[in-house]
């Protein structure tokens, strides 16, 4: 499923300061969003995530 862009359904903003901070954060570019779903690119990322995890397991291995 391709997530549809959200429509603003705001009933009221419960924490305006938090919302302001959220709205000040960067949105991913269309290219980033595409990469996050591209099967070939994500297969490479799966390998990369695995390597990162193995490294964390290996370096943090208990004594």
């Amino acid at each position: 499923m391709i997530p549809v862009p959200a429509k603003d359904t705001t009933m009221s903003i419960p924490d305006p300061a938090a919302q302001q901070s959220i709205l000040a954060s960067p949105l991913p570019t269309p290219s980033t969003l595409k990469h996050r779903r591209n099967l070939f690119y994500q297969l490479l990322r799966l390998a990369a995530i695995n390597i990162k995890m193995v490294r964390v397991i290996a370096t943090g291995r208990h004594l």
Binding site: P14, S21, P28, R36, L39, L46, K52, V56, T59, G60
Partner: protein, 485 residues
């Protein structure tokens, strides 16, 4: 012949039992005492809770696995520990109440040479009036049964949205001292994903209500990691994800009371608020299991062995005091009780020295700070280290105790944000170490090479892979022990 007794058969207890039986072989006894007949892979309860996975896929019966591995299994709830033995016991022993159908409430006394407390958390819904699915007004995904119930409520809510109603969904933490913000985050994004799939997201407002002072804190004080040549923070990264999915947040919140359809909360600035909801899934704070401890004369020594929240005190520095004085060295290494050298705790059951996130209190004196998470990976690693120590001692190897300090071990956290083979997403994070060590890494608290975050479909595949691998491992299928904790 030595006997190792393990209390609890969750992530830590079950890992400890399987490794102990493998490492000790025949000639020694491993006994597990736990009240549930089933094992539950709790991380996948999130998917059960949005109706994406049947409950049977996250649980399996423990008894056949323990039979296969020659591990004794007492389906019972431990009530008290007697580390010095007693009138009829030369060794330490545990009193447990059977939960086996047909022999409920029968008391057993089980002697041990070594004891590991892996009783995890008690889900303390009672800490906030009206919290929880049993006698309160909110839902939960902490147990497989809770998640199943939550999925039914979600289906009903989606039907109402499809009929044209607008609704507010509140997901998060039900108390100022909750932990497991990662689980609340996952449920928020899986809910958002399910609403989009059902084509009703435009009718729903999704609010993440949390005790974190900032998004991306996750109870570990947030992360700093490198992304495309820049150092970024988990705050910016998480806020961006909230913005992308149009999820609102309430930060630094302590729920004071939950009425049907309305949550009352205090925020860090001391202001009081309330928010109406049509659907709320709020996690409870955790306590230790309600275990008591007695000395040889029958005197209650619970307050010496456990901290006030009921977690077992181990080799940590509990006198660190103010935040400015906290050091990585405060965290335990061997998880051995300072009072009894054959008593250990692993997983959530050990008493942490203090929080990881900066502690915060509202002007009214309310503590609103995440408690330190002890997630699946450290729970398993600690359990294995404790077992290795015990095995060495049983075999008389004379080696020093094995160590697994959370200031040295890292963790991988894959937070699901939608379950679908081709359209799913997850936020994959690694942190090394789990507890920042500002002396070793003065700039960011952690090793930048081992600390990362990324969002994408690959994370979802990883999360699914972990589901498959950990269930395989927990069922003790061939070569299960090759799979890391």
């Amino acid at each position: 012949m030595a006997r190792l007794v393990i209390l609890g058969a969750g992530v830590a207890g079950h890992t400890a039992a399987l490794h102990a039986s493998r490492m000790l072989g025949s000639g020694h006894e491993v006994i597990v005492v736990s009240p549930n007949s089933n094992w539950n892979w709790i991380p996948s309860n999130i998917w059960v809770g949005v109706g994406k996975m049947p409950v049977e896929k996250v649980i399996f019966p423990l008894a056949p696995v323990y039979r296969k591995k020659k591990i004794g299994f007492h389906q019972a709830l431990a009530l008290s520990i007697h580390p010095e033995g007693g009138e009829n016991h030369q060794r330490g022993y545990v009193v447990a109440k059977s939960t086996m159908p047909g022999s409920e409430d029968r008391l057993e006394e089980i002697e041990y040479d070594y004891l590991i407390n892996c009783t995890g958390p008690k889900l303390n819904f009672g800490a906030t009036e009206g919290l929880g699915p049993d006698s309160g007004n909110t839902l939960s995904v902490c147990t497989a049964a809770h998640a199943t119930e939550t999925a039914k409520h979600l289906q009903a809510a989606i039907a109402r949205l499809k009929a044209g109603e607008s609704m507010r969904f509140v997901v998060g933490t039900g108390h100022g001292t909750c932990t497991c913000e990662g689980a609340a985050f996952e449920y928020t994004f899986n809910l958002d994903f399910a609403l989009r799939e059902a084509g009703v997201r435009d009718k729903a407002e999704v609010v993440y209500l949390t005790n974190e002072a900032q998004l991306g804190d996750f109870g570990v004080g947030g992360l700093i990691f490198t992304q495309q040549g820049y150092q970024t923070t988990s705050k910016i990264w998480t806020e961006s994800f909230f913005r992308e999915r149009d999820i609102h947040a309430v930060l630094g919140a302590h729920c004071t009371k939950i009425e049907p359809g309305r949550v009352h909360y205090e925020q860090l600035d001391g202001t009081m608020h309330d928010l109406s909801f049509d659907f709320a899934m709020l996690l409870p704070p955790f306590r230790g299991a309600d275990l008591k401890a007695y000395d040889r004369e029958g005197q209650d020594i619970s307050d010496k062995i456990f901290n006030p929240a009921g977690f077992l005190k181990v080799d940590a520095n509990y006198q660190a005091g103010a935040y400015e004085n906290w050091r990585a060295a405060d965290w335990p290494k061997t998880y051995q009780s300072p009072l009894y050298d054959n008593l250990f705790a692993a997983g959530i059951a050990f008493a942490p020295p203090h929080q990881i996130s900066q502690p915060r209190t509202s002007p009214n004196g309310t503590v609103i700070t995440p408690s330190p998470p002890r997630t699946g990976m450290p729970s398993g690693m600690i359990a294995k280290a404790v077992v290795e120590t015990i095995v060495d001692r049983i075999k008389g190897n004379g080696k020093p105790a094995h160590e697994a300090p959370m200031t040295k071990i890292g963790a991988a956290c894959v937070a699901s944000a939608g379950m679908s083979f081709l359209g799913g997403t997850a936020a994959s994070m690694t942190m090394n170490p789990i507890v920042p060590d500002w002396e070793a890494y003065p700039a960011t608290g952690r090793d930048l090479k081992g600390t990362s975050g990324e969002i994408g479909l690959a994370g979802h595949w990883m999360k699914h892979l972990l589901h498959v691998l950990f269930l395989y491992k927990a069922k003790a299928h061939p070569l299960w022990w090759v799979i890391p904790e």
